[in-house]
Symmetry: C2
Subunit: 526 residues, 2 copies
C-alpha cells in the first residue's frame, strides 16, 4: 500500500502541511494517494540519521555491501509487479519502457555486486618506505572513501533507472555513502514502493537505520533545505539546466561548498554525410525517427539537431525523415507539465518560423515533429539551441562545409555527438574535422549510431562539458560514476593492524593494488 508518507530511516512520517497527488496521464486525472511534503523537522531527522548511519556504513566490507546489494536486487524483483503497476498509473510511458527500465535498474545494481564480489571497487595504492639514510621516506598508502550523506534527486523521465534506486543512488551506496532521495513528485508512489524495497534490503542485510531515506517534495524548498544542510556532502541530479544550475548555485554558496553532479541539457547534434545518403537513406531515417520519438523523445540523449550539407538526395532525405517522425503518431508524455512545456516551446518556435500549429485537446499527448531550417537561420538565434524535451528535432540544412562547421562550432557542451558516414567516406578530412570539434564539445561521440539507448557498461560516459553536466570530469552511467562520491584518504607510516584491510601488508582481501607504481597482488614486506 502506498501511504504518501516520507520514509525516514525505518519510520513512515507525514507531518508536513503541504500535500500533492501524482497524475495518471492515461486517464487524465489525479491518482488518489495524498503525498506529504517533508517538513523541516522531518528533513532534519532524515539528515541526522543519514549522518549517523554513514559513520558505520562507510566501514562495512565489500562482503557486507554485496549482501546488501543482492538483497536490493531480490527485494526489487519481489516488488516488481506492484512497482510496475504504480509506474503505469503515474507516468505516460508505455509498459515496455517500464519493463526495460526495471531491467536496467537491476543491471545497475548488479554491476556493483560484481565489483564487490571480486573486490575491485577501489584500487588501493601503496608506496613502501625507503630507508635511505640521507632522505628516508615514510610508508604511504591510499584508498578512496565515501564523501558522506548524499542527496539524490529523482528524475522525471526515469521513474526507476534515475530515481529512487537509480544509477545515482546505487553509485553513492556503493561508495559507502548514505543516501537521501528527494523523490520526484510526478511518480512519488513508485518512489515509495521502491523505497520500501530498499528498506527491506537494509533490514535483511542488517544495515544501520538511515543508510537510506525517501522524502517527498512538490515544493522546491524540500530539495533546497537538503542541499543547504551542513551534514550533506554531495548532490546528484538529472533534469533541466534551470533546475540543475539552481542546485549547483545553492551548493556553491554554502559555507562548505559541496560537489553537485547535475546531468542537465543536451541537444545531441548529429551530422549526416550527404555523400553517404544513397546507400543509407532508408535505414538512417528509420533510426533517427525512432531515436527522436521513442518514449516521446523524453531522453537526455535524444537527437535534437540534425545537420546536413545541401546536395544530391538531401531534400529527399529531409522530407523522408520529417515524414517518418510525423508518422510515429501521437505520443503520450510522462506528465502534463512536460507536455505543457513542449507545446509552449513549439508555439514560440512556430511564431519565429511562421508555421501554423494546431494544439491537441489532451493533457498528455503530443504529436512528434521535425522541422527543417537553414544553417544561416540556425546561426541567427540562440533559441534554436534550446533543448526541446519531447519528440522534436531540427534538421539544419547548411549551404556548404564551412557553414556546417560554423554551426557545430557554435554549440555548447553536449552529452553526445553523432556522425553518420558510409565506410568509403570515413577517411575524408571533413569527417576528421567534425570529430575534432566534437572532441572538445561532448562526452561521447557516436559513429553511425543514434545517441539514445545508452549502454550501461564501464566504458560508457554519460556526462559532458557544461551545460551537459555541471562537472565534465564525472559521468552518471557505469561503474566509474562512483568517482563522484569518493575521495582519497592516505595513511602514512601506519602500523599494519590499524590499516584498512585493503591496505594491509598481507593483502588479506587479495585485491589488485598499485604498489610502488606497478599493479600487483603481492604482499608487502616491510
Amino acid at each position: 500500500m502506498i501511504t504518501g508518507k516520507n520514509l525516514i530511516g525505518y519510520k513512515l512520517s507525514g507531518e508536513g502541511l503541504d500535500t500533492f497527488k501524482s497524475y495518471n496521464p492515461h486517464l487524465e486525472k489525479e491518482n488518489p494517494t495524498v503525498f506529504f511534503d517533508a517538513s523541516l523537522s522531518e528533513i532534519e531527522e532524515a539528515v541526522l540519521l543519514a549522518s549517523k548511519a554513514f559513520q558505520q556504513y562507510q566501514f562495512f566490507t565489500a562482503e557486507q555491501k554485496l549482501k546488501f546489494f543482492q538483497a536490493l536486487e531480490n527485494e526489487m524483483l519481489e516488488a516488481k509487479k506492484s512497482i510496475l503497476t504504480c509506474y503505469q498509473l503515474e507516468s505516460g510511458l508505455p509498459l515496455s519502457r517500464s519493463e526495460s527500465e526495471f531491467s536496467r535498474t537491476i543491471a545497475q545494481i548488479q554491476q556493483y555486486s560484481k565489483l564487490f564480489d571480486s573486490n575491485q571497487l577501489i584500487l588501493p595504492s601503496i608506496d613502501t618506505a625507503i630507508y635511505d639514510t640521507h632522505q628516508p621516506k615514510s610508508d604511504i598508502r591510499k584508498i578512496k572513501v565515501g564523501l558522506g550523506p548524499v542527496v539524490v534527486f529523482g528524475a522525471s523521465n526515469f521513474p526507476l533507472a534515475y530515481s529512487t534506486l537509480g544509477g545515482d543512488t546505487v553509485a553513492a551506496l556503493a561508495a559507502g555513502c548514505s543516501v537521501i532521495v528527494k523523490s520526484h513528485p510526478m511518480h512519488a508512489g513508485t518512489g515509495e514502493l521502491v523505497g520500501n524495497a530498499i528498506i527491506k534490503a537494509l533490514k535483511y542485510a542488517e544495515m544501520p537505520e538511515g543508510v537510506f531515506s525517501n522524502l517527498n517534495g512538490f515544493s522546491n524548498n524540500v530539495g533546497a533545505c537538503l542541499v543547504n544542510h551542513p551534514m550533506i556532502k554531495a548532490v546528484a541530479f538529472t533534469g533541466s539546466i534551470k533546475g540543475g544550475r539552481a542546485l549547483f548555485d545553492l551548493a556553491a554558496r554554502r559555507k562548505e561548498p559541496i560537489p553537485v553532479f547535475a546531468e542537465m541539457g543536451s541537444l545531441n547534434p548529429v551530422v549526416i554525410d550527404n555523400l553517404s545518403l544513397l546507400k543509407n537513406m532508408n535505414k538512417w531515417t528509420d533510426d533517427l525517427a525512432d531515436s527522436v520519438t521513442n518514449d516521446a523523445g523524453q531522453f537526455c540523449t535524444k537527437p535534437g539537431l540534425i545537420f546536413i550539407k545541401s546536395g544530391q538526395n538531401v531534400d529527399e532525405f529531409v522530407q523522408m525523415l520529417i515524414s517518418k517522425v510525423k508518422e510515429k503518431g501521437f505520443k503520450m508524455m510522462v506528465h502534463p507539465r512536460l507536455k505543457g512545456n513542449f507545446e509552449n516551446q513549439l508555439d514560440d518556435l512556430s511564431k519565429i518560423l511562421n508555421i501554423e500549429r494546431h494544439k491537441l485537446h489532451s493533457s498528455s499527448v503530443v504529436m512528434p515533429i521535425a522541422i527543417n531550417i537553414s544553417g544561416s537561420l540556425f546561426l541567427t538565434h540562440r533559441i534554436f539551441q534550446e533543448e526541446v524535451f519531447g519528440p522534436f528535432c531540427f534538421v539544419i540544412i547548411c549551404k556548404d562545409d564551412a557553414e556546417l562547421i560554423q554551426c557545430i562550432e557554435s554549440l555548447d557542451g553536449q552529452l553526445t555527438a553523432s556522425i553518420f558516414v558510409e565506410d568509403e567516406f570515413q577517411n575524408e578530412s571533413i569527417v576528421k574535422q567534425w570529430i575534432s570539434i566534437f572532441y572538445n564539445k561532448s562526452g561521447r561521440i557516436n559513429f553511425n549510431n543514434v545517441p539514445t539507448g545508452v549502454r550501461v557498461c564501464g566504458s560508457m560516459h554519460h556526462g559532458g562539458p557544461y551545460p551537459a553536466s555541471s562537472d565534465s570530469r564525472f559521468g552518471a552511467v557505469g561503474v566509474d560514476s562512483i568517482e563522484r562520491f569518493l575521495r582519497p584518504l592516505c595513511f602514512q607510516n601506519f602500523p599494519d593492524a590499524l590499516l584498512p584491510d585493503l591496505l594491509k601488508d598481507k593483502n588479506p582481501l587479495n585485491v589488485l593494488r598499485r604498489v610502488n607504481g606497478e599493479l600487483s597482488f603481492a604482499e608487502i614486506i616491510r
Copy 2:
C-alpha cells in the same frame, strides 16, 4: 636577465600601466626589476593563444610529451644557478630550502616522464560489441582527455614546487592542457626565469606557441580576469582560504562554471598519547619543534594544534616542546606581508590570552612560539581554529579523553591529522576512536610522523575536506593529481582507423587497458 615583462607565448610584453617590485627580505629592501601587471589585452592574447595551442597540444602523443618533459627538466637544470640566485633575492627562505625545492620540482616533472615513457598515464577502457539478436550492444571505448586551458596561481610559500613549473602546472601539462601561470608577485623574477626555461623546452620539443604563458599581476584583477575568461576551463590555486574561496566563488558564478582546485587552510591537528610520553618525550618534542618551525613554519602541512590529555609527564612534555620551539630562534619569513599577518594574528591571540608580546624591529624576521591552552578554552572560541601561517602552534591540554574527542570533533576539514602513540598502546580503543574521527576530517592520517615533508609519490594525497581543499575528491601532489584536469571521452561504434591510438584494436601502444571489465594488454578482435 629578468625583464619584468609577461611571457605571452614566445613574446615578451609589458604594456600594463601598473607595476611592482619584488622584495629582498635579507637586505630588507626592494629588488630593482620593475614588473608589469598584465593588461586586459595581454590577458586576452595569452588566453587566445592558450586556447589555440590546446587544440593541437591535446592530440600530441605520450612520446612527444615525453620529449617536452625531458626538455623541461634539462632547461631547468641548465638555468638552475640563476633561478636559485633569484629565489634567494626574492624570498626569505634559506638556501637549503631552495635546493630541496628545486629537486622536488625536477622530481615532479620526472614522475610524469616515467608515465609517458611506459604509456601508463591514462587507463583506456573498452567494452566490445555484443551481437545478440535480441539486445545488440555497440562497441564502447573510453579515454580521458584534457579539460582545456588551465590557470595556475603561483604560491607564495613555494616559489618553485608550487609555482611557475610546480605540481599544478606539470599535472595540467601532462593532462594535455595548456597553462597560463598567474605568477606570484613576491617572486616574480624567479617566475620569469622558470618561464624562460619552459619556453626553451617548448621550442626544443616543437610545441605550439601558447602551451604556456606567464603573466604578472600584483593586482587581484589579473587573476580574476583570467578565471572569468570563457576560454579558461580550470583553475589551480595554493594559498589562503580567503584567496581560494574568492576564486572558487568567481568560477562558480560564471555562465559556464569551471572547476577550481584550491588547496587552502589546514591546522594539521596532532594528538599525542600521554601514556606514550615516557619513552618518546625527547624525540617527539624534537620532531614537533622542527615541524612547527622549519622554514619558519610556512607550510600548509605545519602542525598548528597539538592535543594531549593531562596526566603524568604532560606538563614536562609541554614545557619541553614550548622551549624547543622558542630555542629555534629567529626565523626569516618569505615576505614582509606574511610576517605582518603573522604578527597581527599573534597580537590578536595575545590580547585574548592576556600574554605580553614584544615586536621585533625587523620587516622579515619572527620569533617561533608555542602556546599552551586548555581544552575548555580551545572550545570557547573559533579564533583558536584560525590558521596562523608561520612558526607557531597551540598545545591544547585536555582534562580527559572526552574533552579531547570533543576538541578534535569540533575541527573543520584538514589536509592532515597525526597521531603519536607508542607501539604497546596502539590497540587501545581510544586510538581507534581518534583515527575514525580523522577518517572523515582529513586527507592524510600520519602515525608517529610529523605532517610536514610531504613525500611526492603516487600514494600521497594532498588535499582534504573543505576548507583544506575546495574539492576533497582531488589532490595536488603525486600523479593522481592529474585527475583534476582530465575528463572522460567515449567513442561509440567507431571505425578502428578513427579511434585514438590508445583505443585501437591492435593496441599499437601496448598499453594496459580495461577490456570488458578486466585489465589486459590483449588486442581486440571485432
